[in-house]
Amino acid sequence: MKLLYFAWLRTRIGRAEEEVDPPADVATVEDLLRWLQGRGAGYAEALARPDLVRVAVNQEFAARDAPVASNDEVALFPPVTGG
């Protein structure tokens, strides 16, 4: 699974992207966020306020119960502020 981080999620986690291989019980966006929180201090800090985190699966906005699979591209970012 390819993960992408943007804006303050990128700076807090300390990288723009990475390949991960979550365990089989990580089936939804919600599961993935919980699993990521256990990956270290940067992740825990970045995901401490999950209400401020938006997720896109394969470049589509995804709700917390949306499924994630091993060859998905999953992006985590704050609410958008363009325009």
Binding site: F6, A7, F61, V80, G83
Partner: protein, 157 residues
Amino acid sequence: MAIRVQEEDFDIGAEIKALTLGRTEIGGVASFIGLVRDFVDPGAGQESTAIRGMTLEHYPGMTEKMLSRIEDEANRRWPLDATLIIHRVGALAPGDNIVLVVCAAAHREDALQACSFLIDWLKTQAPFWKSERTATGEKWVKAKQSDDVLAARWEKT
């Protein structure tokens, strides 16, 4: 219909000319330019903070996808002859252009409404993030609730 994400500045006059050239069925062109302001919106009762610069980050791939979808939706809702969205990324200074939205139509109200719709939806749907540089450092811009309110006007009930 056109979408561009670029570091370079844009020239609204040249863009509108290119969009309308020979298209004499067009009666009105509505456009909106967003610029880098030199101050941060203060909260209630607070003083505003001077901005020295801004950096715009985006999600390549998803950005173009979302902008195209927003543009498609505008074309579904209003009879438009041409639309254009240009969004800049990278380092910008106060007074710099950030975004350009142009809508051309036979009738002015269609062009004006679609232009307003496009900028409202872009603000809440397109994956861009701003960080602002002030005297105290660089800070990611918080999303504004007022933008959600403006975008919600266009939700179909």
